[in-house]
Amino acid sequence: MSDTGPKFLGRQRTLVLIAIAVLVLGAAGIYSVQAFQRYQERTTGASAAALRATMPEGDRIVFRNTAMGEGYGSMAAVALDAPSGQRAVTEIPCDRVAERAGLVSCMKTRRGIPTTFENDVLDADGNLVETLPLPGIPSRTRISDGGLVATTSFVTGHSYAAGSFSTETTVTRADGSGYGNLEDFTMMVDGEELTAVDRNVWGVSFVSEDEFYVTVASGGNTWLMKGSFSTRTLASVLGNAECPSVSPDRTRVAYKKRTGSGAAVHWDIAVLDLQTGKETVIGLRDGFDDQLEWLDDGRLLFGVPRPGAVGDSDVYVIDARAEAEPELLIEHAWSPSVVRSAN
């Protein structure tokens, strides 16, 4: 290459540069316009799932509908006794959703400059009760029988070069009052206080209006912790456990258990018997990465991204016993929440 400066940028090079600019920016522009058109078709076209007009009465599973077409990304519901049947789709978009005690917690993304996040607490008829701002990307939400709303968000720095991210888990009532950020609770690991800075808390599961289970992580370790709102404490139950889920009869806790590390990271399901302390691991060939939800006292639900279809996912069911195999329960669904009339 000759040492002529940019002042002497040759005619040929200028033409090549212009050609490249026209080519790549043109191609990207065309792709973007097509993406916009595809999005229009996807959200206004016929749904990939069978729809029904009215919400199912009685026991049901509420979830985020990920079927391409009308109602994509919105809260939807199927009857508990016909989970693969027709779904009722609302006009309420949610990234994560949970329903209990006559309240709906709908964590959502608000597109804009900048993009922001919020948690809309709705009543059972879908009327907005309260909007709580979220510090980051929606991740987990659960509601207690008495109406406490737990949310976990991912808080990221403005640049991934900064490499910082953390979780923020808060427990509030629908009116915004409550217990605040669980990171401020006193944390005990095997009797010693955890004072590390890099601790993160995520994935609340309520036992009562005072007691709950949650994940605490620090320095690459995770613990299942049992917490109390009245004493503002968290105490470790066992290590390597994430995203707990307490069974409806309160006798067992199901969670994610990590095997492998780095690029080979993989999670299996584990179920802890709270009476005997016995842990049962349910190996999953393809792993999973979700907070489990109990369908009943013997079966668990979890979401799995659909391979090859970005933005789509399915909900699987699995028996809470070793050697069990997952089965597809609800197609094109995410963030399942079981609503029983007993609640």
């Binding site: 940019p6 993406a35 916009f36 510090p135 590390s261 391979p307 970005v310």
Partner: protein, 435 residues
């Protein structure tokens, strides 16, 4: 302190005359490299702004999994930086090394279109970071080479101005695309790739591939440069290289930069402390960095100019006083006055230090080791800031954000005179003579 002050005055006197004598002329190479950086930053920051949402929202992965890779990637990037500088010096041609760095990040954008598992995504981010590590030192060496020695810091300021425009525009572009196409992550990736390709094309086609040491022909040095265009330059082997980096003015500069870097806790903490006062809605959080970036890009050239006219070392060290002001304001309260002052001070700090450090390191490096010298300075600062962020986290938890920031501000006020002594004190010969 008064001794060093007098020293600074004498430097100032000698340099004012020199910088005034030679009219500043923006080098086309510096502008071209600035445009390359701007395009690359639009490309990388647009992806960075939406990547967490893509990973969690579209791919359904948890960020926790992704977090495990963070530490690894950061250390890889820091190591690669100095190694790439050394490689650029060894071959005495920085451009191919820079092309490799920018090219690697461009290839990572292609990978992003196909990766759906977090191992794939993490690998891609790793490749992108390694690319960033590779390109920085050789690129800054090219800026140094193409600049008039009298206006070195100003040239770096010009480059950082264009760079920061890209870093600010990137996230905006991504948010606009997502506003129009809510699940248009791929559209952002495709746009990002297009802009990255354009950046590499500008680098390859527009930026000249000069041999290190073969100076361009600026007004002041046309005679010497013309006399010895292919002068053989001495490339330092490993041992003399270590000596070069650890002793003399270079060694003292790295010490001072490392010391100050240890007290640079990261803007994230400043923004978080401002948020912690509870007067600001979450909505404003992502816009805080836009505010400090705007100040940075407004002041990058004026402060570079000031550094050239007075003393680059003095402006670099004194710039950390602005950082102390930013900490004090962030801990002071959540009123609009403190928020605006903190952001302005933070922008001022970057304008006084970012490009000026590269200019200072380039100026102190012996000919033939410019890339290594700049790479070493940037590595020292990056590693020191990484340590500082970790250490500051402890203080934050133990004492709360306000007290922790006050403490670091106090330490900074102690460290600034020390750094001043190291760089400008009596032991240090006037350092502005050799460019």
């Amino acid at each position: 302190m008064y001794l060093s002050l007098s020293d600074w005055r004498s430097n100032k006197a000698s340099n004012t005359s020199r910088a005034a004598k030679v009219a500043f002329k923006a080098s086309p190479t510096v502008i071209a490299l600035g445009i390359v950086s701007m395009l690359t930053d639009i490309s990388s920051e647009s992806v960075a702004a939406i990547l967490p949402m893509y990973i969690t929202g579209a791919l359904g992965l948890s960020m926790i999994a992704y977090g495990f890779f963070e530490g690894l990637n950061q250390s890889a990037s820091a190591l690669v930086r100095i190694a790439a500088g050394y490689a650029a010096d060894q071959t005495s041609r920085p451009k191919p090394v820079a092309v490799a760095g920018y090219g690697l990040s461009m290839v990572a954008r292609i990978g992003l279109l196909f990766a759906t598992g977090f191992a794939g995504i993490a690998a891609i981010i790793g490749v992108d970071r390694v690319g960033k590590g590779i390109r920085t030192a050789p690129r800054d060496a090219m800026i140094q080479q193409a600049s008039q020695p009298e206006h070195l810091a100003r040239s770096f300021g010009l480059h950082r101005l264009l760079d920061t425009i890209g870093a600010t525009a990137g996230p905006m572009l991504a948010f606009v695309v997502l506003l129009l196409v809510p699940d248009g992550y791929r559209a952002v990736f495709v746009l990002s790739l297009a802009v990255a390709i354009l950046g590499v094309a500008v680098l390859v086609l527009v930026v000249p591939n000069r041999k290190l040491g073969a100076k361009p022909v600026p007004a002041a040095q046309s005679r010497t440069a013309a006399a010895e265009p292919e002068r053989s330059i001495q490339v330092l082997k490993f041992k003399p290289l270590l000596r070069m980096l650890s002793r003399g003015r270079m060694g003292r500069m790295l010490c001072a930069a490392g010391l100050l870097g240890l007290l640079t806790v990261g803007d994230g903490f400043v923004y978080l402390a401002l948020m912690a006062h509870g007067t600001m809605d979450y909505f404003w959080f992502p816009l805080l960095f836009v505010g400090s970036n705007l100040v940075f890009l407004l002041l990058a050239i004026p402060l570079g100019k000031l550094a050239d006219r007075t003393s680059r070392a003095a402006v670099f060290v004194a710039g950390h006083l602005a950082l102390a002001v930013a900490y004090l304001c962030a801990s002071g309260g959540g009123s609009l006055f403190f928020i605006v002052s903190a952001l302005a001070a933070l922008g001022l700090f970057y304008a006084a230090t970012d490009g000026v450090l590269a200019a200072l390191a380039g100026q102190l490096s012996p000919e033939g080791s410019v890339s290594t010298g700049i790479g070493a300075a940037q590595t020292v600062v990056a590693v020191a800031r990484l340590l500082s962020a970790t250490g500051f986290g402890v203080l934050w938890v133990l004492f709360g954000s306000n007290l922790a920031l006050l403490g670091v501000a106090a330490l900074l006020l102690l460290a600034v005179p020390l750094a001043w002594y190291l760089l400008l004190g009596k032991a240090s010969r006037p350092i502005e003579e050799n460019s």
